[in-house]
Symmetry: none
Subunit: 214 residues, 4 copies
DNA sequence: GATGAATGAGGGTTCATTCAT
DNA sequence: CATGAATGAACCCTCATTCAT
């Protein structure tokens, strides 16, 4: 009985572990290839080659190309949202400035580590591409929404706690979200930016809370 | 004799006027279709259909798909930069806050009127797509650079004129540029934003200069 | 009356002379372009450009592309056949060896002066291309047939006059015709041939009549 | 264990055998279609249809249309040159007349069996088409050169062995090569030729060595 | 479950031909 | 008649997807 139940349980476990390892390898390959060649330029053959499997194998794990992309976006979105939630919980007691700074640092750090994903995500978020990916459509926009929701909650608590002036409250969240791209812009456009130090969450929060005016 | 020479001159004029009108119609159609379907999803047949011409006509005006896209980006970039320069010259004497507000309003207004173009431009600016479009590559990144240059000049004058604190001076430009997307984010993410009033340049400048802190 | 009839006659004459000049220019341009780019690679636009007229004008003179090609082949075939007939008549009294040599020299000379045409003609003569050019089909094969006929007549008189052995009589004509390409082959293949002197009709006739054997 | 490793080896073998069979079918289809419709008139869809495969399959075996044509010419050129070399080696001891006759018979036989290829080859050899097919260009002219080289070697040995008069030695090779087309010309032009017996290598050699003169 | 050759719809592009000026 | 932009059928090629092994 032991033998049988062991083997009966163990084999599926082994198999499912192999399955998951393959799926993870595929997702990682997909992240690279999508980032390298763009949302439309990434080819299933390339993804398979980079993952070290044949094309057919991709279809054993994901229904089609869109499902693979959606799976990738899901996976990464889950990771970053998880980290955000963890930090929000940890810093629940801190003052507003520190909570905002820490949350921004979390996002900056994640995106710095997963720059390919960030690039993909921005393209996928484009309103006009959503139409092209009905399968992914359900999930793709959610990361933006989810991040927005978390930031908005923080902003509201900031207004309640008198850390933020209430007049412009409804624009704060969108404003902070738009600033997440600041380092990308700095790198691309600023002559100093290419090699220089990235803008820090502290600097960002400083301007956001205190203003840039003299 | 006059009559004949007149007609001899008139025909080329008429033809070239028609040519230009067709080219403009093609560009406008391309703007719509590229925005609707994305940089890769836009098909030459669709562009032709929307412009009311046959596919072949597109190729009488633009060497290939990339040249059409590049032509479109060039055209629109020229327009928005021209308006920016005009406003910058007009407001040369105004104080910093007004100059910044007016410049932002100019951009907001242009992008509101050419939302499709803005969408295309953001996609084209993506680092990963530039590699895919070598033809467009030469011009595409320039709009960002040009806008950045003009904003930076304004920021420097703001610092010199004591309107801006000098400590974070090197991040102001990138920060303002990143904020240009704020209304797009608000529309997409905010529950209020979809139908609500857009964020105004005044609001943006208020937060930027005075801060959101209480 | 004089005036009227003069102008009535003169204008058509002038016009028809212009027409013919244009048609000749088109044919000459076509000869160059067909030879430069091949039977299928020659484009109507290129032919028009080289002739110094617009595409539409080509269609005022020739029904379509095939008719233009057929017209070109007709024209040149008429010229070379005319020269052959003239030489045949002139040399009617000479002995066989001289008549053959002179006829070959006529062809060699014409083809040396119209090498593009010769190239075109060979392509057009290909059995498999005839199917593609039903319009030209009637005329294209005729040059080969006409030349063959004239040579065959000469061969028969040679046999009758005991200048040729009668045993292989039925192969002589085809053999001589196949030899017309000898200089083209020599140029292309022989290391000496590229710049060296062309093979002369005399040499050819020498081998044909006397053999290469020791 | 043996069984398993056997099957592990067998699968690739089976696949590669199928691959080669498909490639051969494609080449054969291409030979027909190129010959039937000409170098430019042959369409990839037609080739696929005749080979019994989809268009895409053609591109799994050949990079593009030019590579397919080049592959075809390579393949056939290799075959005919191989046969020529075999015959040359076998007949090394025979006298000149027999060696020449046998070599010609080899070529006549091969070309009779691969008439489509012969047609293609002549078109491809055309100076003006070589420019259009840079991919094929490298190999295309080689068949002519290779055949020329082999014939020239034979001719030189004929001169050395006193079988050929030395005076016209430098034209013999080109002359023999030009004669290879004799049967094609006979079929097309001679009223007797269409159905009649082909000219034999013996007849050809007879005229070449002994002359047609009485 | 993994493999990778075959598939074929669909996209970008060309170019002979037309016709309003 | 000359012009040359517009036309659109037809071509080459790509690549997501399938399925026999």
């Amino acid at each position: 009985m032991n033998d049988r139940s062991d083997s009966g349980v163990a084999i599926p476990n082994l198999r499912s572990r192999i399955r998951e390892a393959t799926a993870a390898a595929i997702l990682e390959a997909a992240e690279q290839v999508f980032a390298d060649h763009g949302l439309h330029g990434a080819h299933m053959n390339d993804i398979g080659a980079r993952a070290g499997v044949a094309v057919g194998t991709l279809y054993n794990h994901f229904k089609d190309r869109d499902a693979l992309l959606a799976g990738l976006l899901d996976q990464r979105a889950g990771e970053v949202l998880g980290e955000m939630d963890r930090v929000i919980a940890e810093e629940a007691r801190a003052d507003f400035r520190e909570r905002l700074t820490t949350l921004l640092r979390t996002m900056f750090t994640y995106f710095a580590a997963h720059r390919p994903f960030f690039t993909i995500f921005q393209q996928a978020e484009s309103a006009d591409l959503r139409a092209l990916y009905p399968v992914a459509g359900k999930k793709v926009p959610e990361l933006g929404l989810e991040v927005y929701g978390r930031l908005e909650k923080l902003m509201k608590s900031g207004v309640r706690g008198k850390a933020l002036r209430p007049e412009g409250a409804e624009l704060y969240t969108a404003l902070i979200m738009s600033m997440l791209r600041v380092n990308k812009i700095r790198e691309r456009c600023s002559s100093a930016g290419a090699g220089g130090p990235a803008i820090t969450p502290e600097q960002l929060v400083r301007v956001f809370l205190d203003g840039a005016g003299a």
